[in-house]
Each structure stands twice: as C-alpha cells, then as structure tokens.
Symmetry: C2
Subunit: 396 residues, 2 copies
Amino acid sequence: MEKGGITYPEGFYASAVHSGIKQLEKKDLSLILSKSPCVAAGTFTTNQFKSYSLIWSLKNINNPINAVLINSGNANTCNGKENYQHTELLAKELSVIIEKDTSSILIASTGIIGKPLPHTSILKAMPELVKTLSPANHTLAAEGIITTDTILKQFHTSTGIKGKHKEVAIGGMAKGAGMINPCMATMLCFITTDAVIERDALQNALKEAVEKSFNMVTVDNDTSTNDMALCLANGEAKNKTIRTGTDEYNQFLSALQTTCAELAKMIASDGEGATKLIEVTVKGGWSIKDAKRVAKRIAGSNLFKSAVYGAYPNWGRILAAAGSVNAKIDVNNTAVSLCGVRVYKGAPLRYDEKKLQETMKSVKKITVEVDIKKGDFCATAWGCDLTEDYVKINKE
Amino acid sequence: MEKGGITYPEGFYASAVHSGIKQLEKKDLSLILSKSPCVAAGTFTTNQFKSYSLIWSLKNINNPINAVLINSGNANTCNGKENYQHTELLAKELSVIIEKDTSSILIASTGIIGKPLPHTSILKAMPELVKTLSPANHTLAAEGIITTDTILKQFHTSTGIKGKHKEVAIGGMAKGAGMINPCMATMLCFITTDAVIERDALQNALKEAVEKSFNMVTVDNDTSTNDMALCLANGEAKNKTIRTGTDEYNQFLSALQTTCAELAKMIASDGEGATKLIEVTVKGGWSIKDAKRVAKRIAGSNLFKSAVYGAYPNWGRILAAAGSVNAKIDVNNTAVSLCGVRVYKGAPLRYDEKKLQETMKSVKKITVEVDIKKGDFCATAWGCDLTEDYVKINKE
C-alpha cells in the first residue's frame, strides 16, 4: 500500500484498531505519529460545551507534538469531570509506550455526548495501536475516525516549495457528515506537513484556510462540542524556514487552502442522507462578512435543501433565505443563477423550467450564484440536500 | 353558526371564496370588514425581500382601516414591479364596492414566490366576497388564508375590561405551518378587537405580544417575505379609551398575549409534517436576549427535532445547541429537564431512559427546561419535530 493522506509528507506514521467503543469490530481508535517533534497549529470549536479531549489538546497545542490519538464513537463531552482525568491517563499511557512527554500528545474525540469515555478499553488497545504504526496505514486511520460518514476523506498535495531532498508536502484526513444540519455535527481534520515553518506562520495559515473551507460548510457559527482542525509540521523536508508574508508562505497557504477546501467539500457532499452537494457563491458583498453570511444562510436553508432534493428550481427560497440575513442587499437588482441558468434579476427571468429540473436531477453538484450588488466581496459556502434519510439517521 | 375568531368582537364581518388561485375549488381569498373604521397596528417581516401586498399595507397601516383582503396560494413577492400596481388595483376595486377610501384597505398574501399575482381572477371574485360577509363566516375566512396548514387557527377571548354594553373582546385567526423550518414560512395573523384604544397603546401591545409569541416560533430572526400580524380595533365596545400604562392597558395586553400565544402554539404544532409540539423554556438568562437566543436555538435544532420525532431522549443535542449560541452560560452548572425528568446538572444524572422514551412517545407536547444559571431572565420558544414528511412536503 502506498503512502498518502496524512502519511504523504515525510516522517509520519499512522494506525487504527477496534478498541471496543463501537460495535461490530469497526475501527474506533486512530493514531498519528511523527518521527520527529512537530510544530502544531489548531482551530477549535466555539461551542461553550467542550469535549474533555479537546480541552486537553487546547492545553497542549503549543508544545512540541509527537502524536495525535483520536477515538470515534464517544464524544467525551458533558460526561462528568472525572473523564478529564481519564483523558489525561490516555496521554500518559501513550507517552510511556512511545517514550515521549505526556505534554507532546494531542487527543480528539467524536461520537455520542454524555457517555463515560471507555478509557480502560482504549488503554488496552494502545500497544497494538503503536505496534501497527506504518506510513501505509493512512486509510486505516481515516477509517478509525469516522462516525456516520459514508466515504473516507483523505487528500494530499505537493506545495512546490523546495526542501533539501524533496518538495514540501501536505496531507490530510477529515471526518464529518452532519454538516447538512446547522446545529451539531463534529468536524475533525488532521493535516500533516514536512515543512519547516514558524509556529505563527503555521497558525496564521491554518486559521485562514479553515475560515474559507470548513467554516463555510457550517451554518450560523454553530459548531459541535468537538470540532477541531490540527496541523502538524515536522520539518522533515528540511526546507528554508517558512515565515509569514514570504513567497514560500503564500505557496504553503494556497496548498493548505486546497487541502482544506477539498476535504470540506467531501464533508458537505457526505452530509447525512445527502444525495447532492450544494455550492453557493455570493458576489457583490459590501463586506466579506456580508457575502459569507448570505452564502451560508442559503446553503443552510432547510426549504432550499429540500427543494434541491426534489430537483425543484425554487429560486424564491434562495431569495427569501438571502433576504433574511443581516447583510446589505440591493433587493431591486439582486441576480440569481441556478446550475448556471439565470433565473432572476430584480424580477423573474424566462427560462426553461423543465430543462433546469432535468439538470438538477442529473448533476451531483448544485451550483447557486447570487449577486447582491452592493460591493466587490465574494464568498462560497457548501451544503447538501435535505432528505428523508437525514431524518431517519438522526431520529435514532 | 356562532360568532367567533375574528368576528367574536362587536362589529366585524368575514367571508371567503375560491377565486381561482388555488386548485380544486379551495378557498383562496378572505375578507375582514369592520362596520366602523378601525385604529390599526401591525408588525411586519424583517426580510429584505418584501411582498408587494405587505408593502401596500405598510404604507397604509396608519390610516383608519375598514377592511383587510387576504389571498393564499400566491405570495405576490419577487414577481416584478407591475404587481405593485395590480395590488393597488385590488384595493381600489374593493374600496369602490364597500364605498370606502382605497387607503382604508390592507392587503396580505401567502403562497409561492415569484409568480404573477392573478389579479383579474381576484377582481372577479370581489363582489361575491363582499356579498357573503357575515359574523358567522369567521371559520370560512380562516380557511381562505391557509396554505400547507392542516388545522385552522382561531382563538377568541374576553378581556374583563368593561365597555358600555359588553366587555371588550379580542378575536384572532392565523396561518403558518412551516415554523419547523428556520428559513422560510409565512406567518399571517389577524386580530380584531372592539376596544376603544389609542393607536400607540395598540401598537405597543401588539409589538410586545408578538415578541413573546410568534417571534418565539421562528428561529434566528429568519422571517418570510410575507410575515405580518395585524390588529384592528373598531371601538364598538365603547369602553373608556385604553392608554399605555393604565390598568386597562395591562388587562388588554395580557388578553392579547394569550391570543397570540395560543395561535403561535397552534402554528408550531402544525409544523409541516410535525407530529409533536416542542416547548423550550430557558431560565437563568443573564438577559432576556440570552434566554430567547438559547431557547430558540434549541427549539430550532434539526438534530434535536429529529431526536424528538424518534422519541430519543438525546439531551446532549440540547446542550450542544445551547452552547453554540452567543449567550452567557454557566457550562459547569447548566441543568436540563426533558418532559419533566431531570437528565443533566453539570454532569449526567441517573434516570430511567426506557420510561422517558415511553413518555416522549406518548405525549403530544415535549417540554424542555434548561437553566443556564447566569441570571433571572426567562424565555419560552416553540417548535416541532422534524419528520420524513417535512422533507416530502418541501421537496415538491
């Protein structure tokens, strides 16, 4: 098996096992390990209720990082303070096995809220987890972090930045399948790079990349109690240190943005019960904030999402969602295109509704373009259609 | 047939006909007429895209009002500027038939966005509409304003305020069945009273009553392009004029609040595809804003709404929704009750999950109580469960 995903950059190893949190022998525990300590950057949920795993990682993110332990099936959230000690215990035990500092280990969790973390089964599984570490196991690791996801989410790319023997590379994996729903869906993203880069530069780049990718598949700043995006840089490419503002920084940022955007789109199109990806681009925003707000609101409108599922070109629902946002909009000149067909410009436009319905039925990605005619700012948001299956999945 | 609903107060008449906007001979045009001119108050959508009918009513709300014309099946929104002239035409024609000023007629619409208003069929139907006016036709009128509603929404009450020969009365009817969905669902409410009341007092009372009722069944300030609540006071009770701040004002306000709250609950429990009403009460808010925000967010959470449909006591989704709001919350002491069962208080509480599931299955109203332990403010929001039928209804 080839290197790829999170093991695509130099010096990263991955593994996953079934520790017993999930049923049916499903992988539920993944590990990422770097041969040399990493500079780490992270973005974390804004939800006021936070997972104990996330609280641990927040506390240690600025240390040199050697490994990231991820479990699925249990959120380790709102389940009682003792679970923070159990989380610490996991880090301690892992640090002993890999012979590193406890403070060099990050932890992430996803799954059901309010259940005690089965730390003893996780502890039991650790030796096997470490024993099976390999650059070839990136797909296994991607499998170990999913919950209701139906597709594995991995991506890797080269940055074009010259290192000593190789180009600086970036790899990533993510989980998340509930973005269809504005109120709760854990998004986890783990990105690795062999770049030599300053911590500030890495943090700036990750923050900007996440803003334009993962944060545009969630709606109204609702984020899960466990959302986390981590980026580890282990310096194995031995390139000239990347500093904010330099050409190399911009090269690195654009590769990181591509990585995040690709993973974000995989998450949106894998929304629970979803059959189609919705991509909403808003132009003419008075500010970037305005453009983002409108794009997110449209991508998150239950009525529009249902219409997309029914291949029903109801552009009225697009306008109504747009108009309900606190953003500057020129209501007399706003223009709307649906799947490339211009349907509205201050007033309804003539178009072949039958044909547009056929298009909406046949394509996997529904593109919406709205020009609110107030300025030059632009933003893109992603969502997916709302189906009976979404309800089926979430009522249980 | 008895007086009731909007004809319960003295001197109001109602009627409804099928004008041809809807299929299958369904009533699609209603009229409310007062024997004497009314002081009117209104609250209107905050959506930036507004129905031409609503724009007309906004323009005339401060005039003495004799009649309100309401059509269902067509929103008269985003359908081209010429439709404003057609709206004016409707008011003109009706004013001629009832021999009143054009400026004394309000108009409201609900239905699909972006289609030309079929004003000629509406004009044709007007004579019949006026001819059939009667205090007994309040239920017919309630029928003429609905769209996807499955139940008619009417309420009336007495205020306890003495008039010359009778107590001051309040009656109302409403439509709206999409409140389950945060992004678009027209809510129309028409309230009549025979009170003698100052315009300012009436406007203040309506604003406050709507804030605590209809505005608590919508989420995140999303409102339809057509939302409107109107209150007409024709003075037929000949009571001592009600002024803001007096005891009579408070009596009137509380009766008006009851009317709005009852109609609001009917709307929430009649959510598209809904099987259960969700009532979320948030205590311990640092401010009324905080309490409202949290209550609305929980009532609007797709994940929680789906869980309610599945009778699945997933209180984690309640906390996650609460924590995602920009409001002060004491995360270490927040307490949650579901259907009267205390399930969380800073940590999970022991409770009989089987029994709670049975309760959730059997009751029609799911009550949620969350104490965020930051202050003394309290707010209640209403929603309903999210079902496969909601998607079925809205994909077409």
